[in-house]
Each structure stands twice: as structure tokens, then as C-alpha cells.
Symmetry: C2
Subunit: 177 residues, 2 copies
């Protein structure tokens, strides 16, 4: 998971779709390679002394199968894509207890099945998100300008419509509000 600082930039777009199968068909036709399908159960934590909603940061504990991954997401630095800094660690043991003891509080859960394809150095996720619906996420790392162009180009080829700029977290939290 160790990446250079530059590669910690996650350049990503998301779009709601009617049919994940239609998009999947196109990806396969374009030469996309199926990587895996997984159930991702995410728990988001609030910070003990700053409001992540204001700072546009996030701390997530993701369970997929027997893996647990802790992820920090920095604030978005672009209006169209959801480009942000991201740091990850694979964890094992009492990480949830440690976070709570440090003052972090779980405040939202998101559950989805994700089917992952790769096409060159672009990763495509076909997401079925509980209570939110079906979405396609297209993501790459590295140089921002070049990466953005490549993922916008792919979105066009896949006929993805209006981009969803909110994170799943924001969508879930706003739904309740």
C-alpha cells in the first residue's frame, strides 16, 4: 500500500446508473479485466476535536471479508472529480477500540457490494449501495491533470451521465437529515 506522496492523490469520479450490467458489458468489450467482487462494510468516525463535515475529511474503517482497512481521506481539491489525498493501513486486532478510546465516534455505516475491473491503470467499481442504489466509480492515481483527463474520457465512452459529486457518506447522512 506504500505509495509516493504524489500517488496518494486519489482522482475519482462517480455517476449514478440505471443498470450496472450495461456498463459492465461495455467495460468487458473495451478489454477491462475483472479483479474481484466483495462486500464492503464501512464505518465512518467523527474526530474528537474537529468537525470532519466542515474540513471535508473522513476516517473510515472498512471490513471486506477477513480484511480490515483504516483509511484517512483528505478534503476534495477539485469541483468536478472527487480528487483527494488518501492514506490506508491494513489493520488487525483492536483498532476499533483504540479509535473509540482516542475519542473518535462511529456515526455512519455504508454497506455495498463492489465489483472491480481494471482497464490500464484505471480502476472501475460497479457498486450496489444499500439504500442508495447503483453507481459506477472510476479512479486512478498519480498526476492530477493527466489522470483527470483519462477518467473523464472513459466516463464519456461508458456514456455515464451526470456526475455525483457527493461521497456515499454525504448521501447517507443527508438522507437522514
Amino acid at each position: 500500500v506504500q505509495r509516493s506522496l504524489k500517488n496518494n492523490l486519489e482522482i475519482e469520479i462517480k455517476a449514478r446508473v440505471q443498470s450496472l450490467q450495461d456498463v459492465e458489458k461495455k467495460i468487458i468489450e473495451m478489454g477491462g479485466i475483472f479483479v474481484r467482487e466483495e462486500l464492503q462494510e464501512d464505518e465512518y468516525f467523527s474526530h474528537p476535536c474537529k468537525d470532519f463535515a466542515n474540513t471535508d475529511e473522513a476516517l473510515r474503517l472498512r471490513k471486506n471479508g477477513s480484511n480490515i482497512i483504516l483509511t484517512y481521506k483528505g478534503k476534495r481539491i477539485d469541483n468536478i472529480t472527487k480528487t483527494r489525498e488518501e492514506y490506508e493501513a491494513i489493520v488487525n486486532g483492536e483498532i476499533r477500540e483504540i479509535l473509540i478510546k482516542l475519542g473518535f465516534s462511529p456515526f455512519a455505516n455504508i454497506s455495498k457490494t463492489r465489483k472491480i475491473y481494471i482497464l490500464g491503470d484505471i480502476e472501475i467499481s460497479l457498486d450496489n449501495v444499500k439504500e442508495l442504489g447503483s453507481f459506477v466509480e472510476i479512479e486512478t492515481h498519480g498526476d492530477y491533470k493527466d489522470g483527470k483527463e483519462r477518467i473523464m474520457d472513459l466516463a464519456k465512452k461508458l456514456s455515464l451521465g451526470n456526475l455525483e459529486k457527493r461521497s456515499y457518506l454525504e448521501m447517507v447522512v443527508n438522507k437522514d437529515g
Copy 2:
């Protein structure tokens, strides 16, 4: 590493010794079993919005060989032993970056070689701590009253003198102050 809440109580005493070898000899005579010797490189972090020195808590990232372990230590609940709650997670990846992004700051490093023996359900550490000297730590988990009796009894058998109630962290920090 998953333990019951009760077992998250770490009951521990520490004593400075002149010769680790003398103590080691006694432990072996008593039937102690050698577990391993390791170099432990610890980094301690301050909390983004509370003073761990006041709350008597600690957050530590320990590197030993290829393992990295994140540990939260709660405040001490006893005047003689250094009994405290402890939670641990084995981590892999960008955990240090995540902590720093969340506002935690590294402020002290402690390096030691530790030789570990077990004697029943008691763990004995023979520590050679950089800049501080030689110490023996005796530790157990579980029921506090019973555990305390057992480790105090062992300390007596090993002829350990005055107990050191400060953590290595406090000793290092006070040395600089």
C-alpha cells in the same frame, strides 16, 4: 490479540536492576521458558486535543522487525503496579501518515532490546533500554487482585528491589526536561 474487556487490564511492575543476567539465571532455574528476543523501536504520539501527560494515557507505534503494532494505554489505576487498560492492533501500511493527518504528533522515541520469558501465565521482560539502562518488567492479564499478588510474589522471589512506577516514556521525557 482479541481479548475480553477484563483481560485488557495489563497488570505490570517494573524494577531497575544491576544485572539482567543474574535475573535471567533465576528465571531459568524457576522453569521460565524463553520466548524471543527483539529490538523494539517505539514512537509515542500526542493527542490533537487533549494532554496525554495529564490524562495519563499513551498512544504508541512499535516497530519490532517487520511488525508494526499500534497500542493505546489507558491511565494507571494503581499506585504500586502500573496496571492499565491496553488495546492493540497489528498494522501494515500508512498508519503513521494517518495518525499525523488526524492531528497526532510524534514527540518521543524509545529504543530497547527485550528478551521475553514466560512462567505460567506471567510474562517477564528483560529490557536493555537505550539511555535509561536495564530493567525487568513482570506482567500478567486478567483478574486484578489475583494478578497483582502473583507478580508481586514473583518480584520477591527474583529479589527485585525498589519498583519503578514511571513508564519508560516518562523517564525519557523527564530526562530531557
